[in-house]
């Protein structure tokens, strides 16, 4: 019998539909109803066993790799209530079960995912493990630098137009859609590893702005990136942080972060833009929050449900970050405008009047 064992001793028996192996991590739940292929490949889930609260999972199979958020599955294990093994969709290439097995990720069907969710909600996130036969130790992803594991190893440039502006994407575990979102807007995206230091000599073209991506784990373990961001401030270059990027930016600027009880993992988080009546529905996936706003910054967005910080913006300079995911996938597109806004804050203009041949991106 397969089971999910929590650190506090609670055990859920389940039916395995993934790889036949054991796996440990932090158990977190997500309430998003859509986009399991996107979620499973989101590098922010590194080190985590993901519980999906929506009960039916697998409905439309798994599409081609080009629609994923990373090259492979990022979660350590998957827990659902009801696995559907008869997917039907014109884009489906394989079943979820086959995919998980191919990628050697265990997955369990336990009926009462709601109980598990309630336990996490009340007690906070737990360490846990999926046990398929072999018993293994618990594993705490908060005690190491996970970013290092999911970041690119080398500089990557997907496509390049000489006339377009250049954005440096510091990859702390970036979802692919961040790059797609900028490419769609006619800018070059140069992806660099998490510890890349722009102030050191490099062969890169002139960089117009920097984006610090999302990523997994505790921001305080990513000291190198924080140091590099401090150096960026001196360059006076526009900076946008997303999710983990928000936390790293805050730490670099002199703010602080702390762990949330059970995090925000969903596609329906309302964020109010400070000083307005505007509320945006956002996708989120994080376990830490910015708890102290750094000097010279102000609150940009606040979570309408629990009042936690959802973004900060420099009082004068084009430096800003958001805790949610404007790139969505999965989730609503409502805050994609953050990218547009960020681009308007970049002073340098495209290098030619011809502009940039808009390339069509997106899952289709």
């Amino acid at each position: 019998m397969s089971k999910l064992v929590l650190k506090n001793g609670l055990t859920f028996e389940g039916k395995s539909f993934g790889a036949d192996k054991s796996s440990a991590g932090e158990v977190v739940f997500s309430t998003g109803m859509m986009g399991y292929p996107e979620s499973l490949t989101d590098p922010s889930y590194k080190g985590q066993i993901l519980v999906l609260t929506y009960p039916l999972v697998g409905n439309y199979g798994i599409p081609d790799k080009k629609f994923w958020e990373a090259e492979k599955i990022m979660i350590s294990g998957l827990i659902v209530s009801d696995y559907i093994n008869t997917p039907y969709h014109f884009q489906s290439k394989k079943t979820l079960s086959d995919w998980l097995k191919e990628e050697n990720i265990p997955a369990l069907e336990i009926k009462d995912t709601r109980l598990l969710t309630q336990i996490i909600r009340e007690k906070g996130t737990f360490l846990g493990k999926i046990v398929n036969g072999e018993n293994i130790d618990f594993y705490d992803p908060d005690n190491e630098n996970l970013v290092e594991k999911v970041s690119v190893k080398d500089i990557e440039i997907k496509s390049f137009s000489k006339s377009a502006r250049n954005i440096l994407l510091i990859d702390c575990g970036a979802k692919k859609n961040i790059q797609r979102a900028f490419s769609k807007r006619g800018v070059n995206v140069i992806t660099v590893p998490w510890d890349f230091d722009l102030t050191k000599p490099n062969k890169l073209p002139k960089i117009d702005a920097v984006v610090i991506s999302n990523g997994p784990g505790n921001p305080k373990f990513v000291g190198q990136t924080i140091e590099n961001i401090k150096k960026l401030f001196k360059l006076n270059i526009p900076v946008l942080g997303v999710c983990l990027g928000n936390q790293l930016l805050a730490l670099a600027a002199g703010g602080d972060t702390k762990k949330l009880k059970y995090g925000h993992r969903s596609q329906n988080q309302p964020c109010i833009m400070d000083g307005t009546n505007r509320c945006f529905i956002t996708t989120q996936n994080h376990g830490f929050e910015v708890s102290i706003i750094p000097p010279n910054f102000k609150t940009w967005f606040t979570n309408a449900n629990d009042g936690s910080n959802e973004g900060i913006i420099h009082k004068r300079k084009p430096i800003m970050s958001v805790q949610f995911h404007p790139e969505a996938t999965p989730g609503p597109h409502d805050t994609e405008w953050i990218f547009d806004y960020f681009l308007t804050r970049i002073k340098s203009k495209p290098r030619s009047d011809l502009g940039y041949a808009r390339i069509k991106v997106g899952p289709y």
Binding site: M33, Q267, G331, P363
Partner: protein
Amino acid sequence: MKFSKVIILGSGALKIGEAGEFDYSGSQAIKALKEEGIKTVLVNPNIATIQTSKLLADTVYFLPVTPQFVEKIIKKEKPDGILLSFGGQTALNCGLELNEKGILKKHKVEILGSPISAIEISEDRQKFANHLLRTGISTPVSQSAKTIAEALKIADKIGYPVMVRSGFALGGQGSGIAQKETELKQILNIGFSFVSQVLIEKYLHHYKEIEYEVVRDSFDNCVTVCNMENMDPLGIHTGESIVIAPSQTLTNYEYHTLRSIAIKIVRSLGIVGECNVQFALNPNPKDGHLEYFVIELNARLSRSSALASKATGYPLAYVAAKLALGKSLTELTNKVTKVTQFCFEPALDYVTVKIPRWDIDKFKNAEQGIGSSMKSVGEVMGIGRTFEEAYQKAIRMLDLDFEGAISTDVSENKSLNIKKLLVSPTPNRIFIIAEALYRNFSVEKIYSLTGIDPWFIYRIKNIVDEEKELLKNKSLNRNNLLHLKQLGFSDKRIGALTSQTGLDVRKIRKRLGILPYIFQIDTLAGEFPAQTNYLYLTYNGAHNDIKGSGKKSVIVLGSGPYRIGSSVEFDWTSVAAVQRLKKHNKDSIVINCNPETVSTDYDISKRLYFEELTFERIADIYEFENPFGVIVSVGGQTPNNRAKSLKKYGCNILGTDPANIERAEDRSKFSALLDKLSVDQPAWDKFNTLKKATEFAEKVGFPVLVRPSFVLSGSNMKIIYSKDELVKFFEKISVISSDYPLTVSKFVEDAKEIEIDAVAQKGIIKVFAVSEHIENAGVHSGDASIIFPPQKIYLETMKKLRQISENLAKTLSITGPFNIQCLAKDNDISVIEINLRSSRTFPFISKVTGVNFMDIAVDAFFNSCGDETRINFASYNFVAAKVAQFSFSRLTGADPVLDVEMTSTGEVACFGEDVEEAFLKAELSVGGKIPEKGIFISLGGDENKINFLNMIEHIKSLSLPVFATERTSKFLSENGLPAKKLYKIHEGKSPNILEYFQRGKIDLAINITDYYLKRDVDDDYHIRRFAVDHNISLFTNLKKAGLFVKALSTKKIDNLPVKSWDEYKSS
């Protein structure tokens, strides 16, 4: 707050396409307004609704929702705002007209919520298509037409098949798919009788149909509260489709692309409040690019929004009303969690499946097919954590004796043409799919025939496969039984498959510790705790979210789906009972499964179980809650039917002992009881041979009323006028045997029908009211026009009625509500039936008398009634008339005649100084029109003609051209009413009736049939049907027609007094 008094337009009577959902939306809107201290004025003649109760609107007008009346109300009440989007298409159309005529501006009434331009654009299909084109959003290729010729030309251009759609209509009226020109002409002929513009559109074959419910505030915050996927493909109206929330087969990209487009459209129109956007989505786009089309946007609360509210726990109508007042979404706290915001999109951790309820069988000659125009009369919603669980629950909720996805009626009927039935859907289609799977049709094959996404077919296949498995090995163990329950199988079905009773299975199940768990609907999938108790049961769990509430609670069983014969009136009685329980310090627990109801709003009761009203489920809840007792007599016949089994199982039934309920409902037992009490009843008996039945009929004399006890399809009851007819009837009825005998009663002609509504406590009457029918017996009491206080009942008769009621109450030891139907001829009274439950007329009687019968009924349950509340019939200086709403025009082919079988879908009631005034207002409320062009009359037989004589003067005074069939015209002309003769349709000569109908020369038709006459061609049927298809007011009952004509000649519509409910009081 900017507004101090707001007028709200309701939707009037329940009809196909516009039903109970607008009681829910209007009620929530009124609540939302009252919280802000705004005075509310409600115009809604639907007296059975909860919104027209004392506890909601401040002032109620039981008057037609038409510009004429609403203008007068505005003049009188001087409101500063008006809400148009909470009363369906009726309210919206009325509002549009008021605006167009400048009435709102003139009286400085501001339209709250969406701007009128948004409504105009979204209602006019051509304008809407143009608007989307400008906004860069795709709609199907289409063009609007105002004449048939124009439409044919457009269709040629687009290419057949084409889709016909009409604007400003509801429930797909006048729409249809035309494969070729002749079909198009047919659709248009009917369509143009109802609307002036149609859209001819490219027909999109087997696309997915997806809906989004969108909310927007005046600060441009915009969220989609729910998306829903129709299991049935495009081409089957969303109201006729099985609908799943949330969508199941859409990828993240598809879901969010459509969502973004929905929001874009809503923003572009400036909607404030709630609206619904429908999409067509190509399941197999040629080049792999997402291909979608926008089908329509409804800039108002709709059936879908009611469903979405119940599916998510997000009270859309309440929020929409707040936003209409100018509030921001960010100001509104989520009522479920009490800490989070309404500015969010609910996350579900369950699925909901809605299935429509049809009653097409009840209509003689009606076509069974379903399509782009609505025919269903109600719906249910199953909630579960697997699709199978929710789906099988929903099927049982229909209350049609189906145990789940597989119907034995279908599987035993080997003559069915499965393939044909898969291609041309009927209400039976879900069972046909299961049967096809049983017969090993492949999933792909079923997909190509039905257009239903294989995902759903695989789920149904899963159910079928499990059944097959169980049939192979019938032993039940913890594993297979739990698995079956997780897939939503009922104990009864499992029992049937394993040769035992449902109760046996229940015992085994409990011994094995297999119990359902109770989960809350919390809008956030467990992320935040819920403070309300909106609940469902599931076997896909291992814990309960709540604890049983114990003896301080009382379970109230709701009505289940709306259907012919049971609708919003039983929601009113349920909610009224729930309210009264507070007085007895009991926490109410409601069980109901109908998403259109107010009783399923989670703030009505302490706990709401959105669940089946089956014995199994009620018993599960009862055992878990361990309540003080259960009320079975306020939700109509469905809960009443559970009384016996619940009692036997050991549940405490509040009110009359189920043994006595049985004595009243079992025809033989009741008959014996009446004999014992020396109360008359029409002679009757049961027969299983034609010979004996004929002997009886000849002894008591024709006509007789026959009721088969087993009905396959078609009508139940029938009046038989001759021996010949009886012989034919026997030939037609397939099953007459000693198990299924035929009941034959003497049909009492020319009898007055009387309705008694009352409450008793331990056999003593505590309140008692009598009302009378306009039509003679022979028109079902649900279809009849009912008058209170009675005008034509002798004092002597009254005394007798009272005596009979007292005797019955005492003998049956009644505690709680009851209703008796009687026939009176001269001073002789006979009883036709007694119902030991609240009846259809309870809201009407309660509201008209000012005495809430439900309050007294609940007090009776607790043995705390005081002295009888006397109703003094003479003290009312007004008359109220309740009139039925018919929806014949939507049921292609159905014979629109009043008969012993109920066919109406709703009702209204209006007040007046006399019967004529009250009746005229009520008739206008159900769509009746004052004739202005011409009157057609056809009177069958001599008796009908003689009885018509006293109407001639009234018709004359209308000074309208009169047309009639040959003999009728002769008769009328001879009696001083010149009438132009028209040929009957089958005579094939000119000028004929159809021509005059088609040319719009006639707007009132009176067709009275003589049932003794034998005919080869049923011309009367054709006349009636053509009248309905050409939107001509039709009367088929002499008494009702007489009253209408008299009212027309004695009343002037312009002078009809406009008074609120409060202004009609007993002296």
